[in-house]
């Protein structure tokens, strides 16, 4: 079950233009020590990053021979990759994106608790992680007693809107015994899911103590390779009670429950042919997500659909052998 982590130099193995010309998160800004080399992987290639000494400017470049933890002067680095700082993360690209990063309006509200809930590596593809995040049906079985509990297992009909820019699933209702750390009793909880980026997804749900506002939890996926992802758990909460540590603990508890599921899925790359697996009506957002990736022409970390004929020809009358 060894995972291919062989890329040590900064040459990405990815040749998919859709994936190349996209922005990716590589680290929470606060977790980068100024003046020291940090290393990670993106699209199969090794990249290094640091912050300028004394300053907050992140610098990212394709890895050369430098070791993790070595001292480096960020200002003197050649071949710097484009960088954005948004939502508290450093984002970069190996291509030339024609678009800027998506926005999350709630992040501008003054009393928001914004933090990285943990950047956790998982032996699966980024789209498998996104699809799992969009899924409600697993709550009673994977997040038992927290996000769901038997026998209240029904996924009610919900709405999905798809545009070129994003997928929006609304009116998503599920019975939850403890939907958030600040919730005590079981209740029907309403979610909105949004996919504004092939490998990024967020959910909005009403704040248990203030129904007029929405907590935002997002999964920003850094595709290290096609079958290995670093998932950045982003939290943007309205919560005056719990400590940062408690909020992070709750998020890691939930993600930690998803992890063994994701690592036991086969194949690891997401199959885009709807007939490769068995979707049901509850999987509407996943069906839309797979079709949306297909329409974008994305091939990285997925198994592209082999253009099935949409209208099956009548099969010949069956004959009996033997």
């Amino acid at each position: 079950m060894a995972v291919s982590d062989t890329a040590t130099m900064g040459t990405p193995s990815c040749t998919d233009p859709v994936a190349l010309h996209e922005w990716y998160p590589i680290s929470a800004l606060v977790e980068i020590t100024p003046g020291l080399v940090h290393r990670t992987q993106l699209l199969g290639g090794a990249i290094s990053y640091t912050r300028t000494p004394g300053g907050s400017r992140p610098v990212v470049w394709p890895s050369g021979g430098e070791a993790s933890g070595a001292e480096v002067d960020g200002l003197a680095v050649d071949h710097q990759l484009p960088v954005r700082v948004k939502f508290g993360y450093v984002w970069t690209t190996l291509g030339r994106p024609e678009h800027e990063l998506f926005d999350i309006a709630e992040c501008d509200e003054a009393d928001r608790r914004i933090q990285n809930g943990g950047s956790i590596m998982v032996a699966t593809s980024a789209p498998r992680a996104i699809e799992n995040f969009l899924d409600m049906g697993h709550f009673p079985y994977v997040h038992t007693g927290i996000l769901g509990a038997e026998p209240r297992t029904e996924v009610l009909e919900y709405d999905v809107e798809v545009t070129d820019e994003e997928i929006l699933a609304t009116r998503c209702l599920f019975f939850q015994p403890q939907a958030a750390l600040s919730a005590s009793d079981g209740q029907m909880t309403e979610y909105v899911y949004r996919v504004p980026h092939p490998y990024c997804v967020m959910l909005y749900k009403s704040v248990p103590t203030d129904a007029s506002r929405m907590d935002v939890i997002a999964l920003f996926c850094q595709p290290m390779t096609e079958e290995r992802v670093r998932a950045h758990n982003f939290l943007c909460m309205v919560d005056a009670v719990n400590s940062d540590t408690a909020l992070k603990r709750f998020q890691q508890l939930i993600f930690g429950q998803d992890k063994p599921i994701l690592e036991n899925q086969s194949p690891r790359r997401l199959p885009l042919d709807p007939r490769a697996e068995t979707p049901i009506r509850a999987d509407k957002s996943s069906i839309s997500y797979r079709r949306w990736l297909s329409a974008k022409g994305l091939t990285y970390a997925v198994i592209p659909a082999t253009a099935p004929s949409p209208t099956p020809a009548p099969t010949p009358a069956p004959t009996r052998s033997s």
Binding site: M1, V3, A28, G118, I120, A246, K248, R249, F255
Partner: protein, 229 residues
Amino acid sequence: MMKIYDYELSVNCYKQRLLLGILGVPYESIPVDFFPGWEHKGEAFAEINPLGHIPVIDDDGYILRDAQAILVYLALRYDPSGLWYPVTDPRVAGEVASWMAFAEGTTNTASAARLHDTLGYPFDIDTVRAGAQKLFRVLDDHVWFHEQQERPWVASAPHPTIADLALFPDVMLSEQGGISLLDYPALRRWTDRVKHIPGFTVMSGIFPAPAGAAPAGAAPGGATVGRPR
């Protein structure tokens, strides 16, 4: 009340929660921002454990660190049956101590591989994985031969001991370090038996056993497992 400096995804913290749950001892979990905050490496935590490790327990002012040591303490202090650390039987006690030391090895290999693959710890992944495979072969052999003698647990007592709990999470979560249990069927059966111990609790990454029929031998006293035909 007993306090445990705790991190949800830590196997060593889970060992304590597991035993406390089985013994029915109430405790308060003090969350430590182990990741991404590295709080256990900070100055404030050095007051509690200068080694910068969790778990640490604070039992009414008595502070103790080290996963295996805490298991010993909790069993001797809170298990009136005396079965979880059966010191009155020198042979079994010796076996328990021996497998507790073995658990240091599985933590330093299998669980190290998991920290590398999950949180990015800078271990030599090939070395720790190979080390885990070597230990798992030994443990799988041992558990298989025990099964043939109708001994369901790692020590030769007819009931589980803290040695089972010390080893369980390292084995159970090894797949997160890229070590499949496919070659260790006796270990997979043994983890099923651990899951049926009354009072068993899960951590993130470990799912419970099915309700209903427990495999024979899961509860203290039972001892039947399959024999070759």
